[in-house]
Each structure stands twice: as structure tokens, then as C-alpha cells.
């Protein structure tokens, strides 16, 4: 799902960095400070798990593949800002050491997959959790994937509109390619993963699990 270097122009990547930078600072102050030390082992383990699930390619019809994001879980436990921070770290490592995504597009990918998606998932979960906790977690994770995929599709569509030499695929095509696997496959798997992980974490009754 995440966009590689060279597909987005500075007209998009620079404003994305301008939007992401203060949010990174705020998230680090809130979630990595002295008061949050108790939660760090669990947060670190879930971030490492998010990295792992993002490397697992799920084949979808059409000869392509997709992958989970895995940070909605962090948003449900500690809020969307922490999910944003942890997803940014995952994306940075992927860009620096594994050639996935890229440094110029890091803020765009982080905002789409780490903030907008988890924020939507967190909001849905908060709205529904009193009625049905598991359904709320599942739906939150499913919505999170759709919003993240939709955000990436919108950015690529905007890029195609302002400078198609960076991304020559029209919005309708890229939106279909992103949203169909997300609606049909990834959202469901992310939902199941989130529900299962949440149940296991609550059963384990670890410190740092809300």
C-alpha cells in the first residue's frame, strides 16, 4: 500500500512533512516520555509485530499482493497519535534498510497508514465499544484499512492530476487497485488480527494494556 520514492512530487511530499513534523513531536512527548515508560515494552513488541505483519504479502487476484498494517491495535490501546509514531518508525526502517517505500514519501505514507486510518478506526471503536467490544474492534480495524487505502488513492489521484509524469495512472484505476483488495481481503484480515491480539493482550493482563 505504501508509495515508493519517485511517485510523488515535492508539491505533495513537502506539505506532508510540514503536517507530520509537529504531530511526531507531540506524539513523542506524549507517548515516549517518563510517564509512559511502563507501556514501552508492550508498545515496542506491538510495533515489532506491526513490522512483521507488514512484510507478509497477502496474494490477491490480478497477480498482485497486499499486506496488513497492524497499528490499529496500538490506536485502540493508546490512541491514534501513538499508532502514528510507531507506524512512522516502521516505515522509516523499511525505507532505510529494506528498500520499501522511501524517505521522501515517508510523511505521506505515515499520515495515510499511521494516522488517518488508525484515527478513523479508533473513532469507530470508541463509538461502538459499549455495545459490542469485539465487533467494535473488528469494525474499527476494517474501517482503518479502508481509510488508509482511500487516503493513498486520493494522494496518487492528486499527483496524477497535478503532474502525471510522477504517477501516470488515473485516479479511477489506482483507487480500484487499492480499494478492492482492501475492502475484500485486507480489511477483514486486519479486523481478525486486531480482535485476536486485543483478546490475547487483555487476557495476559499486561502493564501498558488499557
Amino acid at each position: 500500500m505504501h508509495v515508493p520514492d519517485g511517485f510523488l512530487s515535492p508539491a505533495i511530499t513537502l506539505p506532508a512533512y510540514a503536517a507530520a513534523a509537529p504531530l511526531w513531536a507531540l506524539a513523542a512527548r506524549r507517548h515516549l516520555g517518563r510517564d509512559a515508560a511502563d507501556a514501552l515494552p508492550v508498545v515496542g513488541a506491538l510495533t515489532a509485530l506491526a513490522f512483521v505483519v507488514q512484510t507478509i504479502a497477502i496474494p490477491v487476484p490480478g497477480g498482485t499482493s497486499t499486506h496488513l498494517v497492524g497499528v490499529t491495535l496500538l490506536a485502540l490501546l493508546h490512541g491514534p497519535l501513538l499508532a502514528f509514531l510507531c507506524e512512522s518508525l516502521v516505515l522509516l526502517l523499511q525505507a532505510l534498510f529494506f528498500g520499501a517505500g522511501g524517505v521522501t514519501v515517508l510523511a505521506v505514507n505515515a499520515l495515510a497508514m499511521g494516522l488517518l486510518g488508525p484515527l478513523a478506526g479508533w473513532a469507530v471503536h470508541r463509538l461502538l465499544r459499549r455495545r459490542a467490544q469485539r465487533a467494535a474492534a473488528f469494525l474499527g480495524a476494517w474501517i482503518s484499512m479502508q481509510v488508509a487505502a482511500g487516503a493513498v488513492a486520493l494522494v496518487l489521484g492528486l499527483q496524477h492530476r497535478i503532474a502525471p509524469e510522477y504517477f501516470p495512472v488515473p485516479f479511477a484505476v489506482s483507487a480500484t487497485a487499492l480499494l478492492v483488495p482492501s475492502l475484500a481481503v485486507t480489511g477483514l484480515v486486519e479486523g481478525l488480527y486486531t480482535v485476536l491480539a486485543l483478546a490475547l493482550l487483555r487476557k495476559a493482563d499486561l502493564r501498558g494494556v488499557a
Partner: protein, 146 residues
């Protein structure tokens, strides 16, 4: 006699038609090739690509679609860094440069999805674990100070 003279130009027709004939020649050893594939070894088949020669960075030298094994083949006009951009409609893809020194023979066959891919999740998870462990120890020490 007049009829013969009138038909004489018809003898020139095959010569004119030659200008419209399409010929071909096979020239071994002139093409360079590269293969694009996902980190798990799955080829990026039938994806749109553009290729720029080092002699002209503005206009693509070649564009098309990868074959079903993920190959792009081209005949370079100049040695140097050729930029190649492969676009997956879903936003994945590749924008990189490949060094061409004359024609390059590229080994055929799919690459093994080797240790690099298998170790990637472990290495990433280990790095993240180390970062958070260091942060945890640092914050604990800060918290222990009076």
C-alpha cells in the same frame, strides 16, 4: 505498341512496393534486460514502465509493460545510468537507475526468495525491540533520579 508502353510503368511497381516492406534482423548480444519482482520473488508482470536513456533524461527512451515474468528488455544507445520506473496501479512500484555498460547478459529464471527476504521481519523486529528497550531503560533511569 502503345499498350506495351502503357503497361511498362507497371514493371516499376514492385520496386516502389519494396519501400513498404517490413524486414527484420536478429542481432544477438545487443539488448540489456532487467527483471522486476516483489520482495517475496513474485514477478511484477504486465506493469506499465518507462525507461530513460542517460543521453536524454526528459523524453522516455522506451515505455511499455513488463512481460509475464517481470522482464523489461531494451537496446541501449549509450552506456551509463538508465532510469527505470515501473508503476503498479496500487501505488507500489519502482523508480531506480540501472548501470548499463554495453549490453548486459542477465541470468534468466526467478531469483530465489532467499535469506534476505526471510530475515527481513526478524531484523526489523530486532531493531525495533532494541530501540524500545533502550528507550525504556533510559526513561526508567530518569524516573529513578531524585
Amino acid at each position: 505498341m502503345r499498350a506495351v508502353l502503357a503497361l511498362l510503368p507497371l514493371l516499376l511497381v514492385p520496386a516502389a512496393a519494396r519501400g513498404h516492406e517490413v524486414l527484420h534482423e536478429l542481432v544477438p548480444g545487443h539488448a540489456a534486460g532487467l527483471r522486476v519482482y516483489e520482495s517475496d520473488g513474485e514477478p511484477l508482470a504486465d506493469r506499465a514502465y518507462e525507461l530513460w536513456s542517460p543521453s536524454d533524461a526528459r523524453t522516455p527512451w522506451q515505455s511499455g509493460r513488463t512481460d509475464r515474468a517481470g522482464w523489461i528488455a531494451f537496446v541501449p544507445d549509450a552506456p551509463g545510468a538508465w532510469r527505470v520506473k515501473v508503476v503498479d496501479p496500487g501505488g507500489h512500484g519502482l523508480d531506480t537507475t540501472v548501470q548499463v555498460a554495453g549490453a548486459q547478459a542477465v541470468p534468466a529464471g526467478p531469483p530465489p526468495a532467499g535469506a534476505g527476504f526471510a530475515l527481513r521481519p526478524l531484523v526489523g523486529a530486532a531493531v525495533i525491540a532494541a530501540i524500545f528497550a533502550a528507550l525504556f531503560v533510559y526513561q526508567r533511569r530518569r524516573g529513578a533520579r531524585p
